[in-house]
Symmetry: C2
Subunit: 164 residues, 2 copies
């Protein structure tokens, strides 16, 4: 299979300059503000986006280490298959965050709930559409065994362990 | 910003060999079966995935045309900014589908609700985790003005218009 070459469409800014400080998911980064500065050549493609309260950002985990197949996720003490986690050390290090869109001014998206490292290369923006993106009663494997209080505590104080 | 090079981790199979036949979203492809055949070198990373009823697939829209900044989405008659839609003709043609995971056998994921063209290069797999991936009461812009009956009718019979 042939390789795929992507070119960032912008840069994500956030208060987080060190990987170890970044919350592990937007739900554990409530109120944290950031911006996605989109290359002006793509600004026209942002039209109509301001009607959406939430957007998915796809981005390059540009500081992720080498890919690992088993990782210890931040919510758990056991090793899990990488693809059953959101850890960054993936064969294709693409991150996905569902963030709050506060405002759009020209080529800049003003965001909240940002769990992304400052300077991260932005690859794509997709609107959150409830009718496409939600499933009632989904079964969530090992995640279902972690209660919400524990998840929140670990989500703000632990990082997934990608170390060899 | 420097380019990013990705290598597919597998191939997605589905009954759809022509782009014009593919439903536009998994919610309009209910019951359609497919497989994601992951390169055996990554099989260990699939451990624990079978506990999840739904997974996000990220893949290369390998048959998408050149990127466009305004498109006519399948659900609408008006032109919309590309990033306020899920149309495939994006600067970085990455597709994202939330599909049902029926079973995992070795390096093969057995899927349902597949809205993906046969032979599509797979880039990443992320589990659907309700606590990360859902937002109550999200506002969905132009999508909110399309009622569900119309959406379903158009979702099964129309394609987004990326033609110049």
């Amino acid at each position: 299979m042939s390789a795929i070459r992507l070119q960032p469409i912008g840069i994500i800014h956030s208060p987080y300059t060190r990987a170890e400080d970044v919350p592990v998911q937007p739900v554990y980064a409530r109120g944290i503000q950031g911006q996605a500065v989109v290359d002006p050549q793509y600004a026209e493609g942002l039209r109509d986006l301001d009607g959406f309260s939430h957007i998915h950002l796809l981005y390059h985990f540009h500081r992720a280490g080498p890919s690992r197949l088993l990782v210890k996720p931040f919510l758990d003490d056991a090793s899990r298959g990488l693809f059953a986690t959101r850890a960054p050390c993936r064969p294709n290090p693409i991150g996905m965050s569902l963030v709050k869109l506060v405002a759009v001014t020209e080529n800049v998206l003003h965001l909240e709930d940002v769990d992304i490292l400052d300077g991260t290369p932005l690859l794509d923006i997709k609107p959150f559409v409830t009718r496409f993106d939600h499933r009632d009663g989904a079964r969530c494997g090992w995640q279902d065994r972690i209660d919400e209080v524990t998840a929140r505590e670990r989500g703000t104080h632990r990082r997934p362990d990608c170390s060899p």
